[in-house]
């Protein structure tokens, strides 16, 4: 069929062609819409899947965090479990240890070396956290079980020198520790002691006089081949000895103003451990103390 010049007959054909073309276009549009719909559906499903996955991961993360938390608590429990019970018989002891974070580097101990000698010690591993706590516990166990070769544990200087040989920082993940170690001999009332980079222990005499006890020496593990000296004094009945770590008094009393050691000594020598802790907390203001607080008081 050909189109006549007047358009008759041919007009219908053109319309039919146009309709066919439109129908085809419509079909294509429908197909595209279908594709888009499918894509949309897929995206929604994917989104839901991602959400599910995220939720699952959140649960897993929470589980991991709970487990880590539990293990940290377990480690903290272990550290507290190796700390000795307060002694009820003379020399009597009373102590407080408050880690700044969950795990700290402070620990201490005391034990009878033999019938005549009793050792008291407090140490502070640099830093906080699991690493510091591990070294702290190791060192305490070494002291408690007298596990240093050829060392007389009644001789404080010798003990610190042997510890220094046993724990060089290069072999302890660059950690070192300060320590105060003393041995009291009942038969002659003598206290022999040595310290390594540690704050002096504070001896409050029965009559109220206060003495600080320390010997020169750098922290254990800092440098090889150090020899530590022993000093001694005579203890009287009614004297009280305080062992502390630096975190016990290193708080700011005002921005940039650190508590003076002497002020702390004055307060501590007239107070019970609990009062000292409240006082230091009060000075520090709200929040955790910046470092571990440890105080071991010994009454002779």
């Amino acid at each position: 069929m050909t189109l006549g010049p007047d358009g008759s007959g041919g007009g219908e054909t053109a319309l039919a062609a146009r309709v066919a073309a439109l129908e085809e276009e419509l079909a294509q549009a429908r197909a595209e819409l279908e594709d888009v719909n499918l894509l949309y559906q897929a995206t929604i499903e994917h989104g839901e899947a991602v959400e599910d996955q995220l939720a699952e991961m959140n649960v897993a993360l929470q589980r991991t965090q709970d487990r880590l938390q539990e293990e940290l608590s377990e480690a903290a429990n272990y550290i507290f479990s190796i700390l000795p019970e307060p002694r009820k018989e003379t020399p009597r002891t009373e102590w407080l240890l408050v880690p700044s974070t969950e795990l700290g580097g402070d620990s201490f101990g005391y034990h009878e070396i033999d019938d005549d000698h009793i050792a008291f010690y407090l140490l502070d591993v640099c830093g906080h956290g699991v690493g510091a706590a591990l070294l702290s516990v190791t060192a305490i166990n070494v002291l408690r079980s007298a596990a240093l070769p050829r060392t007389d544990f009644r001789e404080p200087g010798a003990v610190l020198s042997a510890l220094n040989d046993a724990f060089p920082m290069e072999k302890q993940h660059n950690m070192y520790f300060t320590i105060w170690y003393g041995v009291y001999r009942r038969s002659n009332c003598e206290l022999r002691y040595a310290s390594a980079g540690h704050p002096p222990s504070v001896l409050r005499r029965m009559d109220g006089r206060v003495e600080t006890l320390s010997t020169p020496g750098i922290a254990i593990g800092m440098m090889e081949g150090m020899m530590y000296r022993t000093a001694h004094c005579i203890i009287g009945a009614g004297d009280r000895l305080h062992l502390v770590s630096d975190g016990t008094f290193e708080v700011e009393t005002a921005p940039g103003e650190m508590l003076e050691f002497q002020t702390f000594v004055d307060k501590m020598s007239q107070s019970e451990p609990g009062e000292v802790l409240s006082w230091v907390r009060g000075l520090n203001g709200p929040g955790a103390l910046p470092d571990d607080f440890s105080l071991l008081a010994i009454d002779f």
């Binding site: 640099c126 300060t178 390594a196 980079g197 540690h198 704050p199 002096p200 320390s214 020169p216 020496g217 750098i218 922290a219 800092m222 440098m223 630096d246 290193e250 940039g256 650190m258 003076e260 050691f261």
Partner: protein, 114 residues
């Protein structure tokens, strides 16, 4: 670029930390001191004249700097510490190990003799 005040006097590297070396500033001190030690003399004087406070984190970086200086064939000593800083250096035993001097000149002379 080092933020740590320093100068080289008589063949010695003089480090002059200001105000505080504590846990928040210790790392910067260590990094700066390390870089200066790598580039300059291995004899180090810590001029503590402007230092108001040093924490245990501060002591640690003095120690690591001293070890690095020693490994390089030099050494470290301390000068002009104020009373409270002196007290911390005494408790830590650093005064005996590294020496405390009243002036930078005396400190440099002491290092040169070692």
């Amino acid at each position: 670029m080092s933020n740590l005040n320093h100068e080289v006097i008589g063949g010695a590297l003089v480090l002059k930390p200001s105000r505080r070396i504590d846990s928040s500033s210790a790392k910067a001190f260590e990094d700066d001191a390390n870089a200066l030690l790598d580039a300059g003399p291995k004899l180090v004087v810590v001029d503590a004249a402007d230092l108001d406070y040093i924490s245990s984190a501060g002591l640690r970086v003095i120690l690591t700097t001293a070890k690095k200086a020693k490994a390089g064939g030099g050494g470290l000593t301390i000068a002009c510490a104020k009373a409270n800083v002196k007290e911390v250096l005494a408790v830590s035993g650093f005064d005996n190990i590294f020496g405390l001097h009243d002036s930078v000149d005396v400190a440099i002379a002491a290092l040169a003799r070692k």
